[in-house]
Amino acid sequence: MNIIFKPSKENIKSYLPVGITLVFISFIDVFVNAFFNYDLLGFFPSQISYFLPLIFGFIGLYFIRIEFSGIRSLDILNKNINSNNLNAFLTLFTLFILIKSIPPLLNWFIIDANFVGNTKDNCTGDGACWVFIKVWFNRFMYGLYPNAEQWRINSAFLILFAIVGVSFFVSQKLKKYFILFLIFIYPFLGIELISGGSFGLKYVETAAWGGLSLTFIISAFAILFCFPIGVFLALGRRSSLPAIRYISIGFIELWRGVPLITVLFMSAVMFPMFLPDGTFIDKLIRVLIAITLFEAAYMAEVVRGGLQALPKGQYEAAKSLGMGYWRMNALIILPQALKLVIPGIANTLLALVKDTPLIFVVGLMELAGMIGLAKTNPKWLGMAMEGYVFAGLVFWIICYAMSRYSQNLEKKLSTER
């Protein structure tokens, strides 16, 4: 009995064709059902017909589950997706759901979607109205920045990319100056170019900034400032001087204990109360300070992890060479500690980028905020899906690229043999 119903190498000739046929039928059925909306196995009673592909496929996969069949591709298949009954079921279930969900998604994204036109009335199909994105694209990228001045944002970013690009190809010696320029001088030149007010450039107030470019500006500045502050806080937390240590601990735990949104609220409504009457600090700067301090606390904890992971011998060796505290940290400890925690640093920076949309609480609008504005425009009601899918895609690409880059960097800098 057991021998007859157990597929094995002996009866491979009878089981394999039957199994393959059954699996094939089940897939064809699901496929036709999904893409052409036609039920091949419809002559069965309706409730059974629904589960039939699953049952057919399951039996088929059972029949072709032959150990050491001698056929290479079959063995690989069995090992990876068909090793036992549960796996066979899960495989079928996942594949069927994927096949079923392709056509609606494809329809919505491309086939039934609308690409041509300039108003909402052009969107007659059932699918996505990409016209919305097309019309508002400029706003999504630049916010309310005046159209005539947008070349300034473009050129600021282009120059940045150009310098970064060139710095990859110059010699090590020059590279150092490039990096110093990028960190200490360029940010201020770039911000001068974008905000204007001098060199004959028209002044554009920060309230008009927005869209994806604001996301980049905020992320870039916050990353630039939060990193050194985080390193100092981490050193402070490990310091042997009690006052500095406790102040660092208090500072770090305070920021880490509260949500960013309350920190932004604080910068918007509470911070002005702390300043002399009449002083006004730009909204963008306040937000930048809030995000920087917030992320610096997280950065500090990451860096502290690296500092703690270093063996004591490194400290002792540095001291025995007669190095002082700062030289020891700058030349021996930090380079090693930071390398250890690249994944942690990357995660913190990623979190920072993902946190930028929160600036809506103070009324600044980056990409997500601009979409919120566009979808409430009376002429474009009901476009939330398109807008958020677009924003999600943009952020996903940025964040995925960042995480991939950090993984590469980790591999490149790894000194393990």
Partner: protein, 391 residues
């Protein structure tokens, strides 16, 4: 010369100077801010104090777990917001844990497809800002649901509509007795387990504790139903016409779409991080442990239960608690879609009405801070308890 002596030879002085400078700088900043705040508040005619918490709030909150209306105080409104925050965090933590464990285990599945799907789930949902996910669910996905009159009908028991999810209301009689019986069952299980451990350690006898515990948990509350007058009935939501075009459901409990969107986004986002923790934890148990367990004759379930899981949990739990904390803090994004959590109710509406920025923001931040610090104290205690005691 004197300076040199101070700075290099006398360690005490050398250590003292930077500390004194830091403390003085910090103090002067605080004093500067405090004086400014005092002047500013004086200009606006308000004085620092928490008396406003007893004043009448006179605003409504759309969703509240305790009795609340405009005639209650600001203190009460704070409590409503806090409870709503705790509610959405608890729901989020529950589902994030389940989804996270499933996805984390799936990533290690020997089924290539399942592992790939799980991996892409993590890559997709981890790399999209949480706020966008909340917006997506709230403004795009849940807005596509039908109006109440054509709500998605789950067997006439519950209805999913654009206005929320209507579920039956539980109506208990003698709920206290039921609750006590559950507590009693847990106490009984604790004693059964400690007795079983003793038996095992002294006589090597294995008692079927899982079955006994489960049956206790089912039987004891069942007894209250049969003999102690506890009963449970359901109040089902019923469609009702308010005007020719407006329909609504009456009875039952309405789960507002804000809560659904927030809980959904929070749990799907946090699940990716928990999944990575679970994966790292299981991978962190060395292969030798499993082989050693197998070689002393444990079966597959015993290996998982007695050898792999205890060690994996030691790696999984600390970062996962951190994620729970993050989820709770992230629940403050509720303010973006008007779910009445503590930030929206207290730091939003109450602040607008009273203008007491300093007090209200401090209370809000202190609440979160208390939550975080108590969890991290618990974590430190737990880590110390669970740390491998090496000899």
């Amino acid at each position: 010369m004197i300076f040199k002596k101070f700075s290099t030879e006398n360690k005490k002085v050398r250590d003292f100077i930077p500390q004194a400078i830091t403390v003085l700088a910090l103090l002067s900043v605080i004093i500067y801010f405090a004086t400014n705040a005092q002047i500013n508040m004086g200009n606006r005619g308000i004085s620092f104090g928490f008396g406003f918490l007893n004043q009448e709030a006179s605003f409504d909150i759309t969703f509240s777990m305790i009795e609340y209306d405009g005639s209650h105080s600001y203190g009460r409104a704070f409590l409503v917001g806090l409870l709503n925050t705790i509610l959405v965090s608890a729901i989020g933590i529950f589902f994030a844990t389940i989804a996270g464990v499933i996805v984390g285990v799936s990533r290690l599945s020997d089924n290539y497809l399942i592992a790939k799907v799980a991996e892409w789930y993590v890559e997709i949902f981890r790399n999209i800002p949480l706020i966008l996910q909340i917006f997506f669910w709230y403004f795009a996905a849940l807005r596509a649901l039908p109006l109440p009159e054509n709500g998605i009908n789950f067997n006439d028991i519950s209805f999913l509509t654009i206005k929320g999810w209507y579920v039956p209301k539980f109506i208990w009689t003698n709920f206290n007795i039921f609750l006590l019986s559950i507590i009693a069952a847990f106490i009984a299980i604790y004693f059964i387990n400690s007795y079983a451990t003793k038996q095992r350690e002294q006589f090597g006898k294995q008692l079927p504790t899982t079955i006994i515990s489960l049956s206790t948990l089912i039987l004891v509350p069942l007894i209250t139903f049969l003999f102690l007058g506890v009963s449970l009935t359901f109040e089902y939501p019923v469609l009702k016409q308010l005007s020719p075009t407006v329909y609504t459901y009456e009875g039952g409990v309405s789960i507002i779409p804000e809560l659904i969107a927030l809980a959904l986004a929070l749990s799907m986002y946090t699940a990716t991080f928990i999944a990575e923790n679970v994966r790292a934890g299981i991978l962190g148990v060395s292969k030798g442990q499993k082989e050693a367990a197998a070689s002393i004759g444990l079966n597959k379930n015993q290996i998982l239960k007695l050898v792999v899981m205890p060690q994996a949990l030691r790696i999984i739990i600390p970062p996962t608690t951190n994620q729970y904390l993050n989820l709770t803090k992230n629940s403050s994004l509720a303010a973006a879609i008007a779910y009445p959590d503590i930030v929206l109710v207290f730091a939003g509406t109450a602040l607008m009405q009273t203008g007491r920025a300093i007090e209200i923001i401090s209370i809000t931040m202190l609440t979160y801070l208390t939550l975080s610090i108590s969890i991290s104290i618990f974590m430190n205690w737990y880590n110390k308890k669970m740390a491998i005691k090496e000899k």
